[in-house]
Symmetry: C2
Subunit: 312 residues, 2 copies
């Protein structure tokens, strides 16, 4: 049975989302409608991937009885209250209070806010998960993760703790130490050190000013696992010195973001969850979304980044 998706907004990620969906069977995934605050841009967008319905407001899309699943956060609450499952592109929410509001909305109506953390659905992450379970590098001692690109946005920082929570089995860090430098009240570069139980540590560095290798390395007593190309949507895994490629499907149109046909793995995970009637994602449970947001709140507080939403 096809999941009927409704897209919110006509931005770059919506484009890549629709291109990635073309790598999956149309019997499983369809974009049934698109909405934008400007109906002209929605109409223009709808021509390329041939989306049947176009709305000039999110409210109209929310009322469409044919839509199972929606993408984008900003209007997540609106759609949850209208009885839709929602896949929230990052940020899932701006702070923990907003996450709580989203969860209250869905727990009343049994519709789900999925966090669109695509990383964990990539085959490389699945393999990392398996290798860790097998203790392929012995006991994990330190995880390092980097995301640095002068073209990235601040909330990409969340990719780093997302990986850590996977490696450390969704365990709450014993301590978080964040250090950062700001550019016009935005976090330009941030370094975060976390301690987990059993003397395990993690360190992340994020920057919108410098070029990083954008890799992640899990170091253990017997070796290391490295995800490359880049760490949040990897196509290469290096176990000690052995490299394995996990190629992504070719896109039918040029993409805006690196490796974003990999959104297909997220789409398919969401579909499987809905088919099975699950109320949260297997690879990114709600508890992880909550903990991730709490960690991000803590990092922002230590570094001194305040959102307008924090002041309410």
């Amino acid at each position: 049975m096809a999941i009927r998706w409704g897209l919110c907004g006509t931005g770059k990620i919506s484009h890549d989302f629709s291109v990635a969906m073309k790598t999956l069977s149309a019997e499983d995934h369809q974009i049934a409608a698109i909405a934008s605050q400007s109906s002209d841009s929605a109409k223009e967008f709808a021509k390329k991937p041939r989306i049947p319905k176009v709305y000039g407001s999110y409210e109209e899309l929310a009322r469409d009885p044919d839509i199972d699943e929606l993408e984008h956060f900003k209007v997540g609450l609106l759609f949850l209250q209208a009885g839709k499952n929602v896949l929230c592109e990052k940020p899932f929410a701006m702070n923990s209070r907003q996450v709580s509001d989203l969860l209250k909305a869905c727990w009343v109506d049994y519709f789900v806010p999925f966090q669109a953390t695509w990383s964990r659905c990539f085959p490389v992450y699945a393999e990392v998960h398996k290798l860790l379970a097998e203790e392929a590098v012995g006991e994990v001692k330190l995880v390092k993760a980097y995301f640095g690109s002068p073209h990235s946005a601040g909330y990409c920082l969340q990719y780093l703790p997302t990986l850590l929570l996977m490696v450390f089995n969704s365990e709450r860090p014993e301590s978080i130490q964040a250090s950062g430098v700001l550019l016009d009240s935005v976090d330009e570069s941030v370094v975060v050190v976390m301690k987990f139980s059993r003397k395990r540590m993690a360190l992340c560095a994020f920057s919108i000013a410098a070029h990083f290798s954008n890799d992640a390395v899990i170091s253990g007593t017997k070796g290391s696992i490295r995800g490359l190309g880049p760490m949040h949507c990897p196509s290469t895994l290096v176990l000690n010195d052995k490299k394995t490629e996990y190629p992504l499907p070719e896109p039918c149109l040029p993409l805006n973001f690196t490796n974003s046909t990999g959104l297909r793995y997220l789409m398919e995970e969401v579909r499987q969850c809905l088919l099975k009637g699950l109320k949260e994602r297997v690879r990114m449970p709600l508890a992880d979304s909550i903990l991730l947001t709490e960690i991000m709140d803590e990092i922002r507080e230590q570094v001194g980044v305040v959102f307008s939403q924090d002041r309410k």
Copy 2:
């Protein structure tokens, strides 16, 4: 004119030191004597590289009028007071008070305690220094450095800030945040985040429990410089994606430590300093040794590592 070296101790590093010296001209560098607390082991050691004089105590070596330069810290003060220049293998001193004692001893007599930080003498470091001066990667934003090996010793941690002080022109960090886990009161893994002026950051991770890539990456607004193989004695430099090799001379005997024929660069720098009558090393000035020790004191305090020397 040859520098006449006196070796203290017959350990692994003394072996590598003597092997590395064979890659230099005997007209420039000679091991004139070796001393050990056990004269048997000193005699045994002296056979291989044919060292003319052997002493069964450090005191005898200190009195030898033919020795210009000595290697090893433990007895550094003894030799400085006996009017020798001293090249102190790490640790240069256990804490800042000891550094101060060493400096008092040499400033009276005009003999020099050189810190045996060999890293900065490697051709890769010289090239990094040049590339930074040319702003080859734009403005430096973040420096990362790792040293992790289950066979290393705790004081190898000092390699990491040594690099940072070079990159940041011996500037004192604005802040130091260290986080670590201990194993029987020794630092098993330590992560240090430092902030420098102009919104530049550095992060180091050190471990005696896990395998790291042992590289260092300098990330700037226009690209990155990476030192490999490993970071404290690199033979490879990667500027963005361009790799350049700086091969080391082959040793005449098997070595105990990676790339340790590279000690030759340190020996030759020391020789040049002595020939020029310099009272400190150009590539590792005394101010850097002092600042490095202060940084290490701060890291140890935050992490909770206390040496017996701190209690005096």
